[in-house]
Subunit: 235 residues, 4 copies
Amino acid sequence: MTSQESDSLVLSSDPLHPANLIPELCRSFYQLGWVTGTGGGICIRVGDKVYIAPSGVQKERIEPKHIFVLPYPQAPASPHTDRVFLRRPALNLKESACTPLFWNSFDLRNASSCIHTHSQHAVMATLLWTGPVFKISHQMIKGVRIAGTGIALSYLDTLELPIIENTPNEEDLKDSMAEAMIKYPNAPGVLVRRHGVYVWGNDWEKAKTQTECLDYLFEIGVKMKLAGLPTVLNE
Amino acid sequence: MTSQESDSLVLSSDPLHPANLIPELCRSFYQLGWVTGTGGGICIRVGDKVYIAPSGVQKERIEPKHIFVLPYPQAPASPHTDRVFLRRPALNLKESACTPLFWNSFDLRNASSCIHTHSQHAVMATLLWTGPVFKISHQMIKGVRIAGTGIALSYLDTLELPIIENTPNEEDLKDSMAEAMIKYPNAPGVLVRRHGVYVWGNDWEKAKTQTECLDYLFEIGVKMKLAGLPTVLNE
Amino acid sequence: MTSQESDSLVLSSDPLHPANLIPELCRSFYQLGWVTGTGGGICIRVGDKVYIAPSGVQKERIEPKHIFVLPYPQAPASPHTDRVFLRRPALNLKESACTPLFWNSFDLRNASSCIHTHSQHAVMATLLWTGPVFKISHQMIKGVRIAGTGIALSYLDTLELPIIENTPNEEDLKDSMAEAMIKYPNAPGVLVRRHGVYVWGNDWEKAKTQTECLDYLFEIGVKMKLAGLPTVLNE
Amino acid sequence: MTSQESDSLVLSSDPLHPANLIPELCRSFYQLGWVTGTGGGICIRVGDKVYIAPSGVQKERIEPKHIFVLPYPQAPASPHTDRVFLRRPALNLKESACTPLFWNSFDLRNASSCIHTHSQHAVMATLLWTGPVFKISHQMIKGVRIAGTGIALSYLDTLELPIIENTPNEEDLKDSMAEAMIKYPNAPGVLVRRHGVYVWGNDWEKAKTQTECLDYLFEIGVKMKLAGLPTVLNE
């Protein structure tokens, strides 16, 4: 394990450097109610480096110096153990519990960015769709790509997003999330019941805009359900 | 077709120049939830030039250099083909799929600005008003002008907005939107079922304030419907 | 009638000067959804001068140079006619249609500031309270003063706010608003059915904080009604 | 009693100094709807000094010079009387009515920061949970610590928060709040029926993130109740 301090990995004057983007995006996610109370976050992979915000901190107050950097790929390892870092913050910060889940999006979808929100729209969707999948059709679906990294869906497609059951420890979701991604190979994200959602994309822009689209669909789907309107046509 | 790069068309120190206004307004529309996930936008026409934001980008992060400039009028042409540009951004950006719909507002109403939102208030209105028209009376209706470009409506008028059915490709809405505008010559906008709304005005200020008024009316109309209150009096 | 241009009345480096405060407060009210689509506004009276924002403009984009200044008191006059100005903006701006209503708060309550919002919470309250008065008890009522300018209400008091019927022209509300203020001498504001609310105070801070409290009470009252909860206890 | 003016206690160039943090946090709380209309607030204790915002002011406009500083501990005293100050603002500002309630969190939980909000989510929770306790399970509960200052709760724990009845004067809640804290030793906060909530933590970050988590839980709990969903599983 490398514990070497390498500030140069996170210090840049480029506002689009991942170590600058992650704090900026987390501030924006806070405004949207996605990462309230330290929950949620985003990772960005650029080539063989993965930039991740720390766990358990106020997401709207992250600074570049707080960012962890990990190499990609990592040697095969079970969760919790033997993870390798290119940079750990000097401060007493914990690595993100989402790391193994973000890794699923890299390994199984070749994504370069993954976002996790605790949005209440996502959580309410998992409560009103009581089965293993959230489905909606004839809404703003074309903003989402097949599998998150493929071509765009059409207005005529029905969006299906698997819902997995929550566990007390975030990292223990790794296997059930991977299973759901394999079972639903076209799904651009995975909902976690009573918890939130994971969404990924080919880069941070696509991960973010797809998260916005999906959150919009969760929100309007919940409104429709509560108003007694059907959320899938022509079934 | 002109592909000439003409940065001078979009570089100005005047904050009210269309190429500066469009990014600023899109940031504000993002805060309102109107253009989430790359959807929606605004065009501004000044004399014989039309300024339009690109398609498929994060609307809250547009910069002046991303703006397309088209001449007005254009030679008659079918959608998708032979559109002429005064400026295309150097970057690999796509022209807005809304262009033919914005053009309807110029050709049929002599408008100078047109706004497209995916506001959930608009979408919910198209779900709860299941027929071809959204109607509301005895609310903040006087903020809207007859036909969008005429004199102001009165508190005693009933607002009627046509609702057209959505299509998978935005540009394919051109004809049905035009038909609705001809059938409802006083309508200041057109709703698209399960999609959003188009609103226009004599300038960007009037297009924007009328979009705000209409969005307010969609929102309160939806609240009233869900609370079992009548949305039109004295019918 | 004075039409003299007197920019010195509205140009000040003091952020608390009314001509600087009004634009700042209107930006904040826009964020709250109180003045969307050019509606609503605020006036501030300092001694014998009244500062008012223009009518029909985007309230979040007002600048100090747009502010009207009127003397107080004015000679008795019917609405619409013979109003005297100390300053009219050079631009082609219309005086606020709220002027005679703001004047009610000065004449009948000796207020120094009055706020008008189109908040949907206020409008929904006037739809769910179908009679001539909005009533609520056992909520955050102590943030409101008796008559708007007297001592603070207690948690044990029941708030009563008269509701008057709307008219097509704002200035025609003057008489019915005055009647309601006389009939309900303790009311800190007046609701206008299907339109909004007028709230006043001894200075702009108190007008603003009381508007916030009342808007909070409209919002929670509407939520309670829709949830089937009683809004007044011990009646 | 000390009335000595000691500006040095509140003037610092460090943005994390309590006298700088309190105004910044109150602006943020205003955006969240927690401190509208002068209500609510936050105190921060550092060692033997307690920093508190004044009462009855616009919380989003507080400046460092408005902050009160009190020594901790204080000599035993009944509420209202004999409170000792290290600094009182020069302006005519009233000390916070929350002071005795904030003190409960110091004395009974050894907290270093306490937040009071009037959030409508908290108030609605106290109306829909009509008994003496708010309960929720299987949600984002692990963001909250046992007793507010202990170890984190688990996803499998049921959160219980006592609800006390409101009184006309805030300071009169001191005894019933203390009783509830003793009766529910694991509770990380106390709800006040028809009024709001008090939440504390080991420092301002933890008080703030726990308030966010609890507010999130009140909001989702209210949504679930109104949708007819059970808020506690496996009872």
